[in-house]
Symmetry: C2
Subunit: 130 residues, 2 copies
């Protein structure tokens, strides 16, 4: 049986109000709230402020990761939400971000990650690998 | 004129020797070296060890990000290298990782991010956005 390990939403958001995405202070609550809305488990998160404007944020999750990179000069956010486990979690986090940022258009793709894995190749004895 | 802000390599690596990817100690030098090989600028990196095995690593780069998630029980690494600037940097980092991990097969995609941006929509006065 084939199994995929996770689902990855890859979205470029256009026409976002630059004031919402110019600073790390602006994007950090959006990202942190998206993690909560998605019922995701944060291991750590890191934000960075570019000069004169623009920000990046990346969160390491127990379920994989979530990242934000912003170009306020273009009204652009490039967003990745990659989660394992309950597939609706990524959707919930994504829907929250769209609700807050209100892009005028979105280039959206959703990918299966690890989709060539077959359950029967699973190595069941972890000691084999140490 | 249309411009893309970056290039994103999305790759699932299969058939990787589980010993190379079972621990955060094993993957961290690979990731850090890939950043150097790609001439990328690290802002921060974070690693996490799953029990009984498997690891995640994520690096925030001035050029965007690089992430690793491993499932040694499947011989699987899901890898993302997303960079702005010189497009050959992502390729160099990717080539290094492939050379070290020697997967038996790779599901590889390369995407333009922010590809709907038009240069003429650029807002040139940053004060407009503050």
């Amino acid at each position: 049986m084939k199994v995929a390990v996770g689902v990855h939403i890859i979205a470029d958001l256009y026409g976002v109000d630059a004031r919402l995405i110019s600073s790390s202070e602006a994007i950090s609550p959006i990202m942190e709230n998206a993690i909560q809305e998605g019922h995701l488990t944060k291991i750590s998160s890191e934000y960075y402020q570019f000069r004169p404007m623009g920000a990046s944020g990346i969160a390491l999750l127990a379920e994989s990761h979530l990242s934000f990179h912003t170009w306020p000069e273009y009204g652009l956010v490039t967003l990745d939400i990659y989660t394992c486990g309950d597939r609706s979690n990524a959707d919930r986090a994504f829907d929250y971000i769209i609700k807050v940022l209100k892009p005028t258009s979105v280039d959206y793709r959703k990918m299966e990650r690890g989709s060539q894995i077959k359950e029967d190749v699973r190595i069941t004895d972890p000691q084999m690998m140490l």
